[in-house]
């Protein structure tokens, strides 16, 4: 695929609020990106015109029930066929923060055996509880399957901001060890919270902002084309978004978030 052929659909609904900066991040890298209201996609039935689908951050439908659940049900009720084709064809899907929550509620992630009818994991109330906005460190753990992290070497520590109240990934207690083993064996684990030095957070605040199981911040499905993470790469795109840019002697042009967007673009342009 040529870079100019890549069309990114940033799907929004009432309450989505990180669509414009996500769109800007993709556009910065030379691809077409549109912020599209789900009502328009339902009306025009044109989801399959796009090569990448993104669920951006926000509070879809207010998140008054469980975060992401209403958008997920709205989607499965009104756009299921297009979604199924999109997924079956292995087109990439990215979910950021609320987008990750939507994907888990839809059954796209973890996606142990394709799309599940019921959520197989939960992104639940942080521990310590409450909404937190801060920068965190993440260690890249994916050995190559994830379509969104090709530009980040295994073991590299990157820095991205989080802003959520419900980001603690949990599996059913009795299955968690087995599921974790599958995540690792199938190379579905992507980012884990760690300290600046790269030591895993082991669930402890502040390195882990939410007490997530096994310090998980982001995972992909078994095929690697569907990826969700709680941190916001679109807020770590440019130098002036970095928390410590005023301390830098030599200014980097971009932040670590760029690597995620660049990875998927490279992946698409390198495969025909």
């Amino acid at each position: 695929m040529k870079i100019e052929e890549i069309k990114v659909c940033i799907m929004r609904v009432g309450g989505t609020n990180c669509d414009s900066e996500t769109q800007r991040a993709f556009q910065e890298l030379g691809v077409q990106a549109e912020s599209v209201h789900v009502n328009e996609l339902i009306k025009r039935r044109n989801l399959l015109d796009y090569s990448v689908l993104v669920f951006p951050g926000g509070f879809s439908f207010g998140d008054y029930v469980r975060s992401g659940v209403i958008f997920a049900r709205h989607l499965s009720a009104n756009l299921a066929k297009e979604m199924e084709t999109f997924i079956d064809e292995g087109r990439p899907i990215l979910g950021i923060c609320n987008g990750f929550q939507i994907m888990v509620e839809y059954g796209l992630l973890p996606g142990f055996k394709g799309v599940s009818a019921y959520p197989e994991a939960a992104l639940t109330t942080n521990e310590p509880s409450g909404f937190k906005c801060k920068w965190v460190h993440l260690k890249q753990e994916n050995r190559g399957k994830c379509a969104f992290t090709g530009k980040i070497p295994v073991g590299k520590v990157i820095s991205l901001p989080i802003a959520h109240g419900e980001g603690r990934l949990l599996f059913p207690k009795e299955k968690e060890e087995a599921l974790l083993k599958t995540l690792i064996d199938e190379d579905m684990l992507v980012f884990r919270y760690c300290t600046k030095e790269g030591d895993f957070a082991e669930g402890k605040y502040p390195a882990s902002p939410n007490g997530s199981f096994y310090d998980i911040a982001g995972i992909c499905n078994r095929e690697g084309n569907i990826f969700g993470l709680m941190p916001h790469p679109e807020r770590a795109m440019y130098w002036w978004q970095q928390p410590d840019w005023t301390r830098q002697q030599q200014m980097m042009e971009y932040g670590d978030g760029k690597l995620i967007f660049q990875s998927i673009i490279d992946k698409l342009t390198k495969t025909s």
Partner: protein, 793 residues
């Protein structure tokens, strides 16, 4: 209701005012909860005699809203007799006069619209507004604060601007206030604090607007009178600032449905809080739905960009009764509207309730008839309900119907010309004295106590519950770096294709007002401006927000006059015009009046965000300078407070010197010499130095003997004096000469050096070490008071 005074006619009720006695007028007044004075009631009586009929409840309620303190600012616009001298409008005499006199070329719209607008870059303007939402937050902390945020965001939408940042400044009573001492009807401060901060985060976060700047202040008087200032900054292309409504345009109501929430909010805001406020005024607090507003916002911005509408305003205090009438008034029109068309949350609302309801997330726009269909399509796409409820007319009357029944038909000129009150003010003579106490032997301990004092302590646990990075344009964040030091101002990069930055800061010194309201106001202006200057801001515009007690009481009004005089003096001196403001008076509770509190918000620009300066030290070996003179000004300081005193020596602002200092700092920043900069405020030099050090992980060694000032004989006073217009500035060794050359004659002194050792070391006036503390100890003290989680690290 007494039957001989009220007659039901269809859906409306007619009040029999024509032949009513004064007592009967007062009875009508209280039955309908109108809040008029007798003089106003008589004027209304006379008006309806000339109309040859009695008023309906809709008309009386409409007049009550329009004439309320909240909507027409009687105190600020009325006459005041100050010790025999007449002041014709505080607003005109001081606030607006300063702006007029400065004639800043960057001002686009001041005071006349929902928000002030100044020029920014590439044809864009910046809109700014700060609201008070004290009364609702006292009754219902979460809902009151959330709707305060929602309301000020709509003010920004109300000038066609896209909201890009929120600010919030809050005042609470001591969090450990004894339950047993609370009078009935006053909530425990911790409960209010938790509710208010949660309400702010719930609204701003859910709408996706970053909360980038603010402050939290604690004062005993805020126990009964919580202070909630909500601000919002917006961005708009100036050529899309449509305000050309004309006769024939449709009046369109868009957004949330209308219910009984928020009825009489403005009359409530214009009265004192009492034991019964909770019971009586609960319906005056609205219910927040940020997602609805997020959708409305998208639609409004699209309609703006497509140039489909002729005017816009938000629906806030007074509900439709303010928005509809004011829109018609502004464009010299009359208006007809059918209240039966207003979409309701539930049936059963009387016409007057529909007209007054302050249900949230609603906007009013006027639309040329030919664009109406397209406007409706935009709203529909965003899942927003919109309804054309009326039309602008030639005849200057407010005509409201409920289906076929006329429920209001009054003259616009009468409605918008309330009789202005005349109030009496007097300046209270204070007999305050300076305390006498020996200099403490251990000033390290004093510094640690000051860092832990609630007004200085880290507010990180609250700031982190606000999303300050959504939209991805926050360049200088409220908390700096790994150790979360307190930056002086926020810097935003609003435009994708420009490096020009927007700088937002605030200043507030209520404790000084206990000594003198004039110097409190002067200090707040100085603080707001110097916070802005510290990060690299300039070309500053100001917003004023007054929270005062009952202005009917002469000494309360006297201090308000003093504060306004300072606003004029220092706005003019600093050439920083006021562009918008809001007052909240009648802040009195069973515990007494609020400490007069003036918030100054400063909005500036920085030519390129690349020159932004943060407050954390950058490199060991660099030099640390203090700029500005230090005096024994500790009256109202945090140091005196810690010792249990108020004092008398309130910090003053030396106009000429302050201006020179600010100019010199800006110049040094532009020349790239400033590695870090932090202003001196609560806690003085010692606290500022400690913050710069523990935010960076580098130490400092300072010598107080180098500090420039007058009559400096006590190390504790030099360390903790809160004299205005001062900064600490870090400069690299290599730039020493250039910097000192630039600062010649500007009261700038080299006082020390950045060290590798993680320690704050300060030599006192006698040369001996008076402060010696590891950064970790300082940081821990600063964080422990309000951040249980962060201290566990």
């Amino acid at each position: 209701m007494s039957s001989n005074l009220f007659v039901k006619r269809g859906f409306a009720i007619e009040a029999q005012t024509a032949k009513a006695t004064d007592e009967q007028l007062s009875e009508i007044n209280s039955e309908l909860a109108l809040g008029f004075s007798l003089a106003e009631l008589k004027e209304i009586q006379n008006y309806f005699i000339t109309e040859k009929r009695n008023p309906t409840d809709v008309e009386l309620q409409t007049i009550a809203q329009t004439w309320s303190e909240h909507c027409c600012h009687k105190t600020f616009k009325g006459k005041i007799n100050l010790d025999g001298k007449e002041i014709d409008s505080l607003f005109k005499t001081y606030i607006a006069k300063a702006t007029k006199q400065i004639r800043a070329p960057w001002c686009v719209s001041v005071f006349e619209d929902n928000a002030g607008i100044v020029k920014f870059d590439k044809g864009y303007g910046i809109a700014a507004k700060v609201e008070t939402h004290n009364h609702p937050s006292a009754v219902e902390p979460f809902g009151g604060a959330a709707t305060g945020v929602g309301g000020v965001i709509r003010d920004i939408l109300g000038v066609w601007a896209d909201p890009i940042a929120c600010t919030d400044v809050l005042g609470f009573g001591p969090l450990d206030y004894d339950y047993k001492k609370l009078p009935a009807g006053v909530k425990q401060p911790k409960y209010v604090y938790m509710g208010v901060t949660a309400g702010i985060s719930a609204y701003g976060n859910n709408m996706g607007i970053p909360t980038v700047n603010g402050a939290i202040y604690f004062d005993d008087s805020y126990t009964g009178n919580v202070i909630v200032y909500c601000g919002c900054i917006g961005l708009l292309p100036l050529n899309r600032y449509a305000k050309n409504a004309k006769v024939g345009d449709a009046v369109v109501l868009a957004g949330g449905k209308t219910g009984r929430d928020g009825i009489h909010g403005v009359t409530f805001a214009s009265a004192e809080l009492t034991e019964k406020s909770e019971e009586i005024s609960r319906p005056a607090v609205q219910i927040a739905d940020p997602i609805e507003e997020e959708k409305v916002k998208r639609a409004i911005i699209e309609i703006r960009d497509l140039q489909l509408a002729s005017a816009v305003t938000d629906i806030g205090g007074g509900g439709l009764s303010s928005a509809v009438g004011e829109t018609a008034e502004r464009f010299d029109c009359g208006v007809t509207a059918d209240l039966a068309k207003v979409p309701l949350k539930y049936q059963g609302l009387a016409p007057w309730e529909i007209y007054l309801s302050e249900s949230q997330e609603r906007m009013l726009i006027t639309v040329p008839q030919e664009n109406l269909m397209r406007v409706m399509e935009v709203f529909e796409k965003e899942d927003v309900i919109a309804t054309a409820i009326g039309t602008l007319t030639t005849e200057r009357r407010l005509k409201l119907t409920y289906n076929d029944e006329t429920v209001s038909d009054i003259d616009m000129t009468f409605l918008f010309n309330p009789c202005m009150s005349s109030k009496v003010a007097t300046i209270e003579k204070t007999t305050l004295t300076e305390p006498e106490f020996p200099e403490p032997a251990n000033l390290t301990e004093t510094l640690l106590q000051l860092l832990a004092a609630p007004n200085i302590a880290s507010k990180e646990s609250v700031i982190r519950t606000y999303d300050h990075e959504v939209k991805g344009n926050t360049t200088l964040k409220p908390l700096q770096g790994e150790y979360a030091g307190p930056n002086d101002a926020a810097v935003l990069k609003p435009l994708d294709d420009s490096l020009k930055g927007l700088t937002i800061s605030c200043g507030m010194n209520p404790n000084y007002g206990k000594i003198d309201a004039y110097w409190m106001a002067a200090s707040a202006i100085d603080e707001a401006i110097r916070n802005n200057i510290a990060v690299g801001g300039r070309r500053i515009s100001l917003l004023d927000n007054f929270t005062w007690g009952n202005p009917e009481k002469p000494e309360r009004l006297g201090s308000l006059v003093r504060a306004c005089q300072a606003c004029y003096d220092f706005s003019v001196a600093f050439k920083a015009p006021f562009i918008s403001g809001k007052d909240s008076l009648y802040n009195e509770s069973p515990l007494g009046p609020v400490t007069p509190t003036l918030l100054i918000t400063a909005v500036g620009v920085i030519p390129s965000i690349q020159s932004t300066v943060s407050m954390d030290l950058k490199n060991p070996g660099n030099l640390l300078y203090i700029i500005g003179e230090t005096f024994n000004e500790l009256g109202g300081s945090e140091y005196y407070k810690l010792k249990g005193f108020l004092g008398a020596s309130v910090p003053k602002v030396k106009m000429g010197k302050a201006k020179r200092t600010f100019r010199a700092v800006t110049q040094a920043i532009d020349e790239g010499m400033v590695k870090s900069c932090h202003d001196l405020s609560e806690g003085g030099l010692a606290v500022t130095a400690a913050e710069m050090a523990f935010a960076s992980g580098y130490g400092l060694e300072l010598d107080l003997r180098e500090v420039i000032g007058k009559d400096l004989v006590r190390s504790d006073f030099v360390l903790f004096s809160e004299s205005n217009s001062r900064f600490l500035i870090e400069v690299a060794q290599a730039e020493r000469e250039d910097f000192e050359e630039l600062m010649k004659g500007k009261n700038c002194a080299l006082i020390g050096e950045v060290t590798k050792e993680q320690k704050l070391l300060i030599h006192g006036l006698n040369g001996k070490i008076v402060v010696d503390a590891p950064l970790e100890t300082l940081r821990r003290s600063w964080k422990k008071t309000l951040n249980p989680e962060e201290t566990q690290q």
